[in-house]
Subunit: 341 residues, 3 copies
């Protein structure tokens, strides 16, 4: 691919240098081949940029302007305000999502009452149980289990060993990573004469379109109503979503986030790593919760909070600074006491 | 099912209204059909109750007494002290645990030396290895792996991809959710000239009767002795139990609980979400440990603790309140200092 | 095995007692049979030692010297400075890692273009996809998925349902426990007009020799460069390693450790349970991070740290002690104020 051909992918960029330079791949600064393209977005990466063998760069105007003329002459540049975004667009262009190779492997098991679209790709040791519906272009990798009457929307990809309980509804273009579990029983019991009586979980788990679920994450089905994950929400590895939760659109949840049952989460919410929530909480739209926080009370929309209980980020930081200052505070208290006596 | 027929399920309830009203299902207040039955237990749900289309309700006497006569006339009520418990009993009655459909699917693999009861249901792509024993009424969903010489007690259900290492013993009526792993090696190494030498894990993992294990949870086998989970204990998704732990009966462990090796936990213990324990700890009977706590010392029986290290709940809350008060404390200290000078 | 035959396994030990005593197994003090061998390393286990039925013991010189002559006469002793290390060596001798039983089960699926060594053992319902390479002596248990062009080094063991994405490289003598996922997509998105645009993850995951990965742990592939786990590193159950991380040799990571993307970890690093790291952090060689810490800034080599942010262990402990003292500090402040007025 010649440099000038890339302009169609990031039309905002200005191409400086040999328009016919042939780019053969993408790379990271430290290991890229001379004919791979890299990006540089911040000045702290300038040393890596200078040492890199790569000759083609996506670069911000500020960094480009700061370069010596000699380097400007030696390399090829796409100058744009958002180098990383342009780089991602390029990688998406070069490595599009794989299309299904239609067919059911003879070592897959598809129940006769299941409805599998002719364009779906079902690998060896995948299982589609009775009444399940598999949409056009779906890929089921080895070991995937689609339970009775579950539905998988078109062009979704289920990696090895993803497990979908009966009745679960998966939208279009979902990416479900290996080992994730969707629609397992919620965790609910009441004390009984003989021990703990299980509360049957007869609701469903519903994932809307364009959801991505990380490896070994678990999303429980609802008790009576459903558990719902909104369109475009992205969930990292080893995340747990409890029964009856309603998660909005375009949320991001990082690894080890635990959302307890009956929690309502708005749109565009970010939960950083290891955040836990108490049950029945509400987290408003556009809110960000810092890592390792414990959401023990509702969080309003448009807020940045952290800690346990969650506090506005500024207050949290002020408080943490004071805690670090405790040894000094204690000394000053002792000094006052001594002066007293 | 007519309203009067339900009385046999919750004999403590008093039926008010049309005894012949036909109930066709259960529901949540906001989405239930008119002929579904719902419950209301707390006043804060009164608005949802009023707006609901559902006509049949399980209700507490306090809330029932507070209603206008008009509503009392319009709907059918089961008045009882514990509406939720009655509701759960009803759901259990309507949705009993599924019974096995006896048979081994031709795409399952059962080693000739395994002993599978004639009433067990073995799905496609399940594996039962040599010497394993599968009890009456057991259901093994697709992708389940039962290792050599493992035993599964009668009427247990293993959902898709549950993995049982060799020699593991699972009791009766266990529910093992998708992707859980029972009997994996404990985590133990000693430094060696060449790096870290693995300590072989030759004990077993033993789950007694009526245990439930959540999706993708992991329970390690013992080193020399065994790891044991007591009768009736319920474990949520993504929980880890280390080697040689002894967990008592009717315990509840929420998501992301991590119990380090050689920990002893009594009966009726509750570990809330994200609690971690140091190795070799003891937690007494009937104790509750609050979310995100770090159990770095033994916890006596009959206590409620929280924090890291765990403190009695009241002390913990007092301390947290003081921490929140630090900005004020600091100001008051500065004021004293200024007055001094 | 006679007692005198064991000396070859721990040549440093001194044998006291009947050299011809026949040892038939190993055990824990409380449950061992008389002809099983146990160890005792600390005085606090002396009561268990006295009550034990076991007659053969590995023991430290200090404890041995403290025993009454009567007990010295009744039992057989291997006296050595490191009883536990000797015990582990013995267990390794008695229970060596299982060797593969060569062969591909007829219910396994191996793509014709895969290269499986003749000595590998491939169980029912394991899958080896196109272009993958399985080394000598490898064992793939049921439900293992080896994706396209992945390589598994010789004598590695993959337990039930371990999942290896395309292109992943696993070294020699790896032990990958049930349900772990290696090479899943890293978690990266950029905001887009329509929501969140996925950043394709086209790097690899590379595990060097002698790595052990716990059950249901997840290791993401790199974005452009690779995710790398160094030789001899041991990872517990339910651990998450993000994309592009470089982990050194002989590290230990306990359950629920979450290493965010682009983190660099040196050699011989210990991360205790539930430690989380921010992305792009550096943790130096030989460093230990205490349980539940949040690594929000770089940690230098050869340090012991704890807390969030991580602090030197001594400072952390001093600070925690002061926090516990807050009620007293507050009282003393109030007293000063009262005396003032």
């Amino acid at each position: 691919m010649r440099a000038c051909d890339l302009i169609s992918i990031f039309p905002d960029a200005r191409l400086v240098g040999d328009k016919d330079f042939v780019i053969k791949g993408v790379g990271a600064a430290s290991t890229a081949a001379p004919d791979s393209i890299c990006f540089i977005e911040a000045e702290k990466y300038l040393e890596g940029f200078r040492k890199s063998a790569s000759r083609a760069w996506i670069i911000s105007p500020q960094i480009f302007d700061s370069l010596e003329q000699r380097i400007k002459n030696e390399r090829i540049f796409f100058v744009t305000e958002k180098p990383y975004d342009s780089f991602v667009r390029l990688v998406n262009h070069l490595f599009p999502a794989r299309k299904s190779k239609p067919g059911i492997h003879p070592m897959a098991f598809v129940d006769p009452s299941a409805d599998v679209h002719a364009t779906a790709e079902i690998h060896a040791h995948a299982t589609v149980e009775g009444g399940a519906k598999i949409g056009a272009g779906v890929i089921l990798y080895p070991g995937v289990w689609v339970g009775e009457n579950a539905t998988i929307g078109e062009n979704s990809i289920l990696y090895g060993g993803a497990k979908i309980y009966h009745g679960t509804m998966i939208g279009k273009r979902n990416i479900l990573h290996a080992g994730c579990v969707i629609g397992s029983d919620g965790f609910g019991f009441i004390p009984d004469k003989t021990g703990l009586l299980k509360i049957p979980q007869i609701g469903k788990a519903i994932l809307h379109d364009d959801v991505e679920i990380g490896a070994n994450s678990t999303i429980d089905r609802g008790t009576i109503e459903d558990t719902v994950i909104g369109r475009g929400t992205k969930i990292d590895n080893l995340v747990q979503i409890g029964h009856n939760c309603k998660v909005g659109e375009n949320c991001i949840m990082c690894a080890f986030v635990g959302v307890s049952g009956n929690t309502t989460i708005g749109n565009n919410v970010l939960l950083a790593g290891q955040v836990g929530t108490k049950g029945h909480m509400k987290i408003g739209d556009n809110t960000q919760v810092g890592a390792q926080s414990g959401v023990s009370k509702d969080v309003p929309p448009n807020s940045k909070v952290k800690g346990y209980p969650p506090q506005p980020l500024k207050e949290y930081l002020r408080l943490q600074a004071l805690i670090q200052k405790l040894p000094e505070i204690y000394k000053r208290l002792v000094k006052l006491e001594e002066e007293k006596s």
